[in-house]
Assembly symmetry: C2
Homo-oligomer: 184 residues x 2
């Protein structure tokens, strides 16, 4: 095996958006694309992190902040190892996203998966919207907890019906090409 060619500063793609917006699907597609060209990559998925590194945390504003902080710290460890990182995490509060952008530094790419609430609720892949409407779930972003939309995301993806994940992958890769991170 050859010594690896690596970016000096691999990107950390931070996918933010509502539950059901399509963050995890997009993240896994991006990882597959990177891997296909020999670039190691990891998806840090909010749901999975909550079963692992963040298992002790709940959904209060404080715990959400800590959740995002830890995701950022893990992302940084991967980035420093030369692994490209795709984080898929609702990350509803602008302040927390700003903190993690500062922590990660120049490699940070904020990707807003901007899918309308009505679309997310219709998909409801985990049944969370139904549970919240029925009163079984107290805090759900977009319903009973705010989502602060990014004002100046690095990449703004239109998640309305008709836009497919392939288009979103292309849009992210275009951004990375323009930055010189992606040459394929």
């Amino acid at each position: 095996m050859q010594p690896l060619v690596m970016n000096e500063r691999p990107p950390v793609l931070w996918l933010t958006g509502l539950s059901g917006a399509g963050k995890s699907t997009l993240a896994n597609q991006l990882k597959a694309r990177f891997n296909a060209f020999g670039q190691m990559a990891v998806v840090l998925d909010g749901d999975e992190l909550r079963h692992g590194v963040c298992r002790d945390l709940g959904f209060s504003a404080l715990d959400r902040a800590e959740n995002i902080r830890r995701a950022g710290e893990v992302a940084r460890l991967f980035r420093d190892t030369g692994v490209w990182v795709v984080v898929a995490l609702i990350s509803p509060f602008a302040q927390n996203r700003a903190a993690v952008r500062e922590m990660i530094g120049e490699g940070f790419v904020e990707v807003f998966v901007d899918t309308p609430l009505a679309v997310c609720e219709r998909r409801d892949p985990k049944g969370l919207y139904a549970r919240c409407r029925q009163g079984d779930l107290a805090l759900l972003t977009g319903i009973s907890s705010p989502y602060e939309s990014p004002r100046t995301p690095d990449v703004h993806l239109d998640g309305a019906v008709g836009q497919g994940v392939d288009q979103h992958v292309d849009q992210v890769l275009d951004f990375l090409r323009a930055r010189g991170d992606w040459r394929h």
Copy 2:
């Protein structure tokens, strides 16, 4: 760049031993050796984790357990990404090490860096032993908090004076060769 050749199940080397035993030095040497042959690797160092993912934790038995749990979760994320992992963490309690072994599964390699307390205290690279003896530090493993030596570590390194880090690296690589993980 070529698609990467990767182990199905990269090893997670878990270096346990007293403060000053030489865990970090050995971990960095192992990483350098792996990298030299094109194998991506990461060192998860206890001190660094405490400034990052584990910044909210102290040194009580409960916090130490959580510290080790999180280190194990991060190790698993790297392992699942195909990155070799070297953890350098005092991890004084057998119960916590057993838990992390169970979590990681078959790739887990417990490496006991068995350096006598007197040698560690003479080195005292962080001045912790001096601080503890002077009463400035309440809990220090080996002095005021127990270290439970592994009874059946996968690799047992003699850290007495006269043994150099190169010998320890060779001993770990021999173990990995015997398992079929390392072919150089």
